[in-house]
Each structure stands twice: as C-alpha cells, then as structure tokens.
Subunit: 154 residues, 2 copies
DNA sequence: CTACAAGTTCAAGTCAACTTGAGGTCAAGA
DNA sequence: TCTTGACCTCAAGTTGACTTGAACTTGTAG
C-alpha cells in the first residue's frame, strides 16, 4: 500500500546495506525523495533497480558501468520488462566470453599444467594473446581485466 | 645457460612487473638468492611458479590462498608436472561452480529480467540462496563472494 | 674517472566499493 | 519531559594487490 519506503526497509528487502544505498545514491545509481524530516523515501520500483545492480555486479561490472547502463532507462515512466531486457541483452556476449575463458583454464588444468608445459611465454593458456601488452598499472587479471578494458572505454 | 636471472629479466619473460615480483617475495610466494651486490637472482624455475600464480589469479584466488597452495610443493626438488597437477586438480570443481553460476545468470537474462520477475526477494537468479546471510563487511559479490568464502576458511 | 643503467629499501599512494564513527536532528512512546 | 531509535551528513578508515617516489648503492662502458 505504502508506496514509499525508508532506507532500512529497502535495505532489508534488498539485502543491500543502508550505507551502500547512500553510496549508490551519491554515485548517481539510484535516487530518492525526501520526507519533511530530511529522511530518504524510496519508491518501491527501486528494488528492481537494485536487483539489476546486484546482477550486474555479479557479472563483474563496475558501478560506473552500471550507472551508464541505468542512464539508458526511460525517464518518463517506471521501467518495464522490455526496458530492462534492452539493457541486459548485450550481456550475453560478455558472459559467453567469460565462460569461454573458464573452459580454457579448465582444459589447461589437464593439458598444460599436467603435461608440464606450463610456461608464461609459451603457454597459450596462461598467455591468451593479451598479457604481452599490459593495460593499466600492474597486472590486471580476471575481473581486473574486465575493469581495465572498460576503464579505457573499449 | 645462465641459470640465474635478474628481476627485470624475469619481469620481461613473465609479464609480471618487477615491483610485483618484489611484492610476491615479500608476501612469501616466491624466493630469491642474492648476488654479492644485494641484487636478486631468480632461478629459472621461478617462471613456472609465476605462471601458476597468474593462472590462479585468473581463477579468482587471493595471494594468500595461492601462497598456501605453493607451500604444498615439495621443497626437496624443483617441482615437476605431477607436483603441479596435484595442486591444481581440485580446482576443476571451483571452475565448474563458476561456470554454473554464469550459465544461471545467462539464463536469467532471457527468463528473469525479460519476463519481468526480477526482484531481489523472490528471484532465484539474483538470490541464489546466499545473499540473505551476508558474510564479511559489505556486499561481497562475484569474485568477492569467492574471496569472502576463503577468508572465512571454507 | 665519470656516467648511467639497474638494482636496492622503505614509506606512502592508488583504486573500487564500501563501512565506520562522530556528532546532530526529529518523531513517537512511557 | 525524557529517552529511544531511526535517520542524517561528512570525514576517515578498510581491503587486496600493487605502484610510485625518494634516497641510495653497484657494475659496467666509454
């Protein structure tokens, strides 16, 4: 009934800490109205947005990236299924890439390490065409690679 | 021929920054002898160890975990293929879990978000049985979850 | 002999995503 | 009236994996 929820109600329902919610607001991922007292009031639809944020994080996206995605949502109405689907459609590719890397690593457990060829400069497994040209500062692997890629805008 | 390499030689051959190598040594992941000058000299076998470290990092392991694994290597001889294999064997499970999660997330892109059911408290996709009981400080997702799990020793 | 590159140590800085703490406001109940 | 509890802001702290900078030493080439 009550369409506006307090920060702790949202926190409980979403599993996201109140401090994190404030942080998300500060970073522009979510917005809130204010009660007369200055307390935040969130529309129920924020829960769906939070679900999206959590989801995207599990895919390894940074908050900046997520904000950019959320900015694509229509401002004139509460986003519906098709709006969300438009955002998340392209992610399938991302997930597939990640799965592919894992499969490669898994294969390497049997092949590469087992057979004894494991060597940084020769092994196609450990050095899959991108370790040579380092990106940002320091070795950025795994999720790190993802982040570096997006920080540079690719 | 020369069996001992300088830190920059190792850095070049491994793609791991010299500063990172010093850091790894400080953290006990690798060891070095010293030349009369006080400069580090690494045996060539260190390259294999570094390959392992890089590999493990791409699997989302922390340096502490990796060190623990490396400590299981025999001290009485340069580790061979079977030694490495014994370490990395159990990881297949880990990788499979990760792949499974990705598959689940991928399925959710079509199902959950598309159909409009996306909701933190109801969705089996976003809330796969562990978001309720939070672990460490703050939301630890994705790799974060992995780390948290191991930090707590499970 | 003098550069200069390559190495050393140690302390401090970086980044993301939060958390924690101090200090303050406000409304409702005993 | 007093207290409790929920909320606020703002600054500073946390974690992991490094990087960067300052100040210094060594080995080698010209």
């Amino acid at each position: 009934m009550d369409n506006l929820l307090t920060i702790n109600q949202i926190s409980r329902r979403s599993g996201v800490a109140a401090s994190a919610l404030r942080y998300y607001e500060e970073r522009g991922l979510i917005a809130s109205e204010r009660a007369g007292s200055g307390h935040r009031r969130f529309p129920r639809a924020i829960l769906r947005k939070l679900a999206f944020i959590v989801f995207a994080q599990r895919l390894g996206m940074s908050l900046d990236e997520i904000r950019a995605e959320l900015d694509k949502l229509p401002a004139d109405h509460v986003p519906k299924g098709r709006d969300w689907a438009r955002l998340s459609g392209p992610w399938t590719k991302r997930i597939d890439e990640r799965i592919a890397e894992l499969e490669r690593l898994k294969a390497g457990l049997a092949e590469c390490i087992g057979c004894g060829c494991l060597s940084l400069d020769r092994c196609r497994l450990v050095n899959p065409a991108d370790r040579a040209g380092q990106l940002g500062p320091g070795p950025l692997f795994w999720v790190g690679m993802e982040r570096a890629r997006s920080r540079r805008g690719a």
